[in-house]
Symmetry: C2
């Protein structure tokens, strides 16, 4: 059998969504369960894929197949393409596997031409309707197929309305509309050099090709990237007999939801317009009526529709979003799909459907998009105010939520202003560890550079603070007192707003509504936990973060970055003294000053986690990150430490690195200065002893994690230092402390030599941020400059720092896991890269067989839900 690229609606069904697209599959389903659907057929997504394989042409064999289906449609509808007697008019609409509202193109009234329109006017007895349909068709076709700009047509219409002295399109007469159609055709010829096509078959192929092409238009590409839809899916094309809502006052068109998409409240929710075609409802020129009003206009149609809605919701067992048209008093269904909804609504609908007995717990768990939970956990913009605001720029959605405040350009100002009661947004070229306090005080953080795992992004997510990163168009003025973005100059103290969930930046204040967690949330998360097997830990550096994460359901800390504790004023001086040390003795002395602080940090962290495991990573960043960069701070540091400015400058110059990411950091610090590992172990174990004494019933389980290991010999060396230090403290304490020593797998070589490393490690934690950087040879801080070109040219479909690259990085993980489990079947395996909070990556980790994923506190619920869905998906639920 030759491949089949076209299906009549009655040949399909809902489960064929991958092939027929969502719209096509649901039209087929509705057709087959007896709904009033105008006849039509669907050209498959595979035809779209083939179109791109064939260098953007529709092959002759597919064209032939389409023509055969047009013939069937003609027979079925008793109409004929190009006929003056009984012309077949069709709509041509895109319909991808995943719903992408408004992203692709639609053409209505296809089949009209100069002749057909005349007889159509006569036959319908409604010339105004006929010419209106024709001018709409020319306009849409020109725009979509030939990419002739819309604005010209709008101008011509406006000119005519002015000339006639009318305000609404509907006030134009049939003659006016006929004249418009003529004018449009002239413009078409002017712009394209060709006559407007009169043969309906030419029109049809032009339209189908346009829909295929629209799959790769910039807004579709952008939408897919934002929503993780692969470019390889392609779109289907639906060709359907036209029904007309614009045939007069007994005709109309509308959209409706089976439940309120904002709140989830049960009940029909929608709007409609009489004597209108689909685009009029959304165009905003005439104000649509609430759906209830239809009852008064045509109560039979209304109750037929209400019954259909009920049936469809029961049939799909989910809230439905539907389009309908009434043609001369007769109802037609043009679309149904599971409706998009807000996070609040999604939660309520899932729980309500369960309570109504329509779905099971498992199905309720599967119904929520984990990413939507963000909106429940972070403040959001007031939707009404958002509607009338336009962003002045956008960057990466680095940390979700919404924030409004006054611009400050330094962390010091952010702190001071916030203490003075202002809401501030901290704007930086990029943030550095020194900015930590200001970041903590800020409502939101905005950076010009840096990617999804830049310092700003990582820290902000940890804090649950809204952050937009890598806004590459943002230019900070030389005096650091204003910035330029989207043609607007924003001065220090001006209000701006950030949407950390979309990456949008607004040059004005937009009020926000606070996050709220309802009882429905806990119910749903409890159901999720029932089916989840993957453990969820959190990346937390402070007791606050830890408590927050535990509230959200974290089962331990998977990554505590100790260096974040080094920047507070009283500690940084000791760190700097350590860096300036020339002998082991000097270094040990400086480190001894830090130990009590670290110990206290760890005590608080253990307390916060009430006995759950706490993974603490030894110092990771290169030492130069702890040194000041501007002359003033250098002078201050020299004074504080009683050394010369030259000495400090010399140290800074010797620590300079060409590629700090690949430099003297992680375990390499412990190899050169074992004193550091020793001090940190002392702090970790001493703290564990204290907490164990206070809570003898808690297990208290520190897991000491050595970063950046690339060779087992590194781990062996540091492990010896850790073990000797830990065991002497434990022995002295007389307690039993169950500590473990493990390593990050974040260097490709570590994954490739995992068998040897596993011999020495109690656990592995995949540090997929660095592992991604090194596997790709891609610096997360520099990639922002060219990643856009990579998306535009379809080299990358997604940011590998946001979604784990399953092909390359994933293969390294598979190698490491298989090899490690061969030598040590019970080795504990987790992930602590930012991917741990990305649903798609969580699913991948589940399939890899990891024991846990660890993510920032505000992503813990997302990971919980994603992990449950992964388990249910695998079990076939």
């Amino acid at each position: 059998m030759a491949e089949k690229y076209v299906y009549l609606f009655y040949e399909g069904k809902a489960s064929m969504k991958n092939l027929l697209g969502g719209k096509g599959a649901n039209l087929a389903e509705m057709t087959n369960i007896g709904m009033p659907v105008p006849p039509g057929f669907t050209i498959t997504t595979e035809a779209c894929t083939k179109y791109y394989e064939d260098d953007e042409t529709i092959s002759d064999s597919i064209k032939l197949e389409i023509l055969q289906y047009i013939r069937r449609l003609e027979l079925k509808s008793n109409k004929q393409f190009g006929s003056n007697e009984n012309p077949l008019l069709v709509s041509v609409r895109s319909g991808a596997r995943a719903s992408m509202p408004g992203m692709m193109d639609t053409i209505l009234n296809l089949g009209l031409n100069d002749e057909v329109v005349e007889s159509f006017a006569i036959k319908t007895g409604n010339p105004r309707f006929a010419y209106d349909s024709y001018r709409r068709f020319i306009q849409m076709y020109s725009d979509v197929v030939m990419e002739v700009g819309k604005s010209y047509f709008e101008k011509v219409i406006d000119e005519m309305k002015d000339a006639r002295g009318v305000e609404l399109d509907t006030e134009l007469t049939a003659e006016d509309l006929k004249e418009l159609a003529e004018k449009f055709k002239v413009e078409y010829k002017d712009k394209t050099g060709e006559d407007f096509p009169q043969d309906p078959i030419d029109q049809l192929f032009g339209a189908i090709e346009a829909v295929f092409r629209s799959w790769e238009n910039p807004r579709a590409q952008y939408y897919r990237r934002m929503n993780d839809i692969p470019s390889s899916w392609g779109t289907a094309v639906n060709v359907q007999s036209m029904v007309f809502g614009n045939m007069g006052d007994t005709s109309g068109t509308g959209v409706a939801f089976s439940r309120n998409p904002s709140t989830g409240e049960k009940g029909l929710f929608g709007e409609f317009l009489m004597n209108a075609q689909g685009e009029d409802v959304v165009a905003g020129i005439r104000t649509p009526e609430p759906i209830e009003v239809l009852k008064d206009i045509n109560s039979a149609v209304y109750s037929q529709f209400a019954t259909i809605v009920e049936t469809l919701e029961q049939h799909y067992r989910d809230m439905q979003d539907m389009e309908f048209t009434i043609e001369e008093g007769k109802l037609f269904m043009l679309q149904t799909r599971n409706g998009k909804r807000t996070a609040d609504a999604a939660l309520r609908i899932a729980v309500d459907l369960y309570d109504e007995g329509m779905i099971s717990e498992k199905e309720a768990v599967m119904m929520l998009d984990p990413k939507q939970l963000d909106a429940l956990l972070h403040p959001q913009f007031d939707p009404k105010q958002l509607k009338i605001s336009t962003p002045i720029g956008n960057g990466l959605p680095a940390s979700p939520g919404a924030a409004t405040g006054q611009v400050t350009f330094t962390a010091e100002d952010a702190t001071a202003w916030a203490k003075a009661g202002k809401n501030v947004i901290l704007v930086r070229l990029e943030t550095s560890p020194e900015d930590i306090e200001g970041m903590n005080y800020a409502e939101g953080i905005l950076t010009a550079r840096g990617g999804m795992t830049s310092h700003a992004a990582v820290v902000a997510r940890g804090m649950g603070t809204c952050c937009v990163a890598g806004v590459s168009d943002l230019k900070i003025a030389e005096d650091g007192k204003s910035f330029q973005l989207g043609g607007q100059t924003v001065n220090e103290g001006d209000f701006i707003s950030l949407n950390g969930s979309t990456g949008e930046v607004y040059g004005e204040s937009i009020s926000t509504v606070p996050a709220k967690i309802t009882g429905d949330f806990s119910r749903l998360m409890d159901w999720a936990d029932k089916y989840r097997t993957l453990q969820i830990r959190t990346n937390a550096d402070t007791p606050n973060d830890a408590v927050q994460a535990r509230t959200f359901g974290a089962q331990g800390i998977g990554l505590c970055r100790t260096e974040h504790m080094f920047f507070e004023a009283d500690r940084i001086s000791a760190i700097r003294q350590m860096i300036l040390s020339e002998t082991v003795e000097q270094r040990t002395e400086a480190l001894a000053k830090i130990e009590p602080y670290q110990r206290k940090d760890f005590e608080e962290l253990y307390e916060a986690m009430i006995g759950m495991p706490v993974t603490i990573r030894l110092l990771d960043p290169p030492l130069h990150e702890f040194l000041p960069t501007n002359p003033e701070d250098i002078k201050l540091m020299a004074e504080n430490l009683g050394v010369s400015v030259e000495d400090v400058e010399y140290t800074i110059s010797t620590l300079h690195e060409f590629n700090p990411m690949l430099g003297h950091r992680g375990v390499r610090l412990d190899i050169t200065y074992p004193e550091i590992a020793k001090m940190q172990t002392q702090a970790i174990i001493n703290a564990a002893v204290t907490v164990k004494k206070n809570h003898p019933d808690w297990p208290v389980r520190p897991e000491i994690m050595v970063p950046l290991v690339g060779d087992v010999a590194e781990l062996k060396f540091v492990k010896k230092v850790i073990k000797e230090t830990a065991e002497s403290i434990i022995e002295e304490s007389g307690l039993e402390i169950d500590y473990q020593i493990g390593t990050m797998i974040e260097i490709p070589r570590a994954a490739l030599t995992a068998a040897a490393i596993a011999e020495e490690a109690d656990f592995f934690s995949f540090g997929t941020n660095d592992l991604t950087q090194m596997t790709y040879g891609l610096s997360r801080d520099d990639a922002g400059k060219f990643l856009d070109a990579y998306y535009d040219k379809k080299i990358y479909e997604a940011d590998p720092f946001a979604h784990l690259d399953q092909t390359g990085v994933g293969r390294l993980m598979e190698i490491a896991i298989a090899d490690a489990r061969t030598v040590k079947p019970a080795i504990k395996l987790g992930i602590c890269g930012e991917h741990g909070g990305d649903p798609r990556s969580v699913e991948f980790c589940y399939h890899l067989g990891l024991d846990y994923v660890s993510c920032s506190p505000y992503r813990v619920p997302i990971a919980r839900l994603a992990a449950a869905q992964a388990a249910l998906n695998e079990a076939g639920n």
Copy 2:
């Protein structure tokens, strides 16, 4: 059977070198072929390994085994440990698998104590000899076993000589020497807190342990690292009955070679001393006599020795290096081994032995250490002058050869001074592409930073210029007019000398002798080529390099780095104009200026390679490398291009990268600016067309190589640009040009997704420099700062940038090769990292099944020889 850790000499043979060490195996062999060897036994290298496994203790079971062998030795020699009647005295000497002369420790005369020495004096009738032996023993034991410094003992001897008014040790009387022994024992007790051990068994275990320990002394570690000897091999220990060359005028000791180790000339070559123990020959206090003089002193012994030498050379079929002792007129052989020799001698001996019918061609090929060829291809220091010079510092042996000249600190000065007829050494913190001209004019290059694959190292090797890189102790003064190293201040214009083969830096002028290639060289390389299957290409950027490499036997260019062509004055301006461009048109216009230059470069390169394949890599470095860094040059650039200084500074600031190694470079440039790939393809193909026209019989085979690919989509994108450009030029020319498009595999992800990439590539070239950096997460420019700690702590045994890491990087290569060959069995595979010239890595590449290795021109002969040896090794030759 329990494991056996000890072998009597007659239980071993030459082939047991891995177990018995070189010395032990050869003592066994000599014993078994009837040579006069004092009896003894060997404690195996496995015992040494076990010693380290057992936390640096000799296990009781091994001690027991040793004692049993001491008993056998006592029976065999009719002497007894600690006996006054007939005391057994032994030497305890190290002997590793590979010869490490002088790196480890030796103890003679072990078995003497206060009592034994008395009766020994009486029994030998030579009290002076007895006390001399005893004081030597105490001295050696103290030094080696208890690590009591030698200097004290030297001082005591000098004081005594002063007191006695004598000059030579031999003028001291028996009584003097006895007194010395007493003083030494007191010092021993002072320093160690213990009496000098009187029990010979205690002495023996102390000595054996000291030898094991000496395997890890710093100089042994350093030697191993320089000579690629794994730490896991361990050393054997030889315990042998003493024979005495210091028993009077009929006794003596000496060393000899069967051929001249400097020239290779056939004939006995050596020296000896009568009435002396081994160390006196080398100590330089008395001047040894040439070996021929022995004929006059004891012609019977001389001719016995000459016969033995002849026998041993025939037996081992190689030049021998022997130690002998004459005890009261009786000859004893104490060692034989294949002699170390200069490169000249090695070549001559291999060819002579073949001509003498002693060895086959294959054996001659196997006889040469490929690394030794360096010395034949580069100037070397005059050995006489070198002997009296001490280095003031050392760094990495980045490019071999020797150089002497006056210090300059800028490339401009180097050029100017060299043009004025001076020999200059260019000293830089690190070099950058802008320095290229000065580097070319310099005799040698010295840098304070950077590793084996830093810019300086790579460029110097390409030019065949001596280079010492990464001398981390070197401090350049702030004014850039002097540097400090090893306590010496070296000013601009001062003479220094560099040994690029060892990394040593001398603070003075040392004369050099030029390289010379003899007929023997060509004969041997021809033999090598007969057995070699791996192709050898070269990394060459200029016609000069290419011709040089072809002379050395290169079979094509494996890597031409096009960016090196961009720095000449007339081109850099166009490049900078390209970088400042804001539109595609501007960029294309700037690139068009560069194309004719590039085209000419490629024409010359094809001409130089007379039709062999030439692999040309598209532009690789980040664009900021082409921009000036100091204000003066920035101003000049702005003037030249007619833009403002601010514009230039702004461009520089936007191009700044945190980790340039992982930044916007390689194929990423072609994705953002396809115009670059287009221009380079035009130049490559246009040049090929011209050369093909001039030489219709040459194949002319450009291979266009896309760098830094990490995803097949990148290659696909650029391939399309290349193909369209190339094919239109070729079509127009009417010629057939056989060009290929391939990629570097230098990013871990490329190796991990090699199957997909192979579908689009005609060839892979493993860029193991970057692949090593990314697999290790280790910047070659920054690693120098901590690699020493890694060597000291035995984390790394070798520099992964010098020797390919077979475990990690090698595994990635294996994955890539297997996957690529699955989808495209005939894909051409090569390597163009610096490892291509490292013999051990060449052997690995041979086993991986690569088609070729590519290395800098001066390493081509090394690679040829190494490849031949790999093939012969595998075939069991």
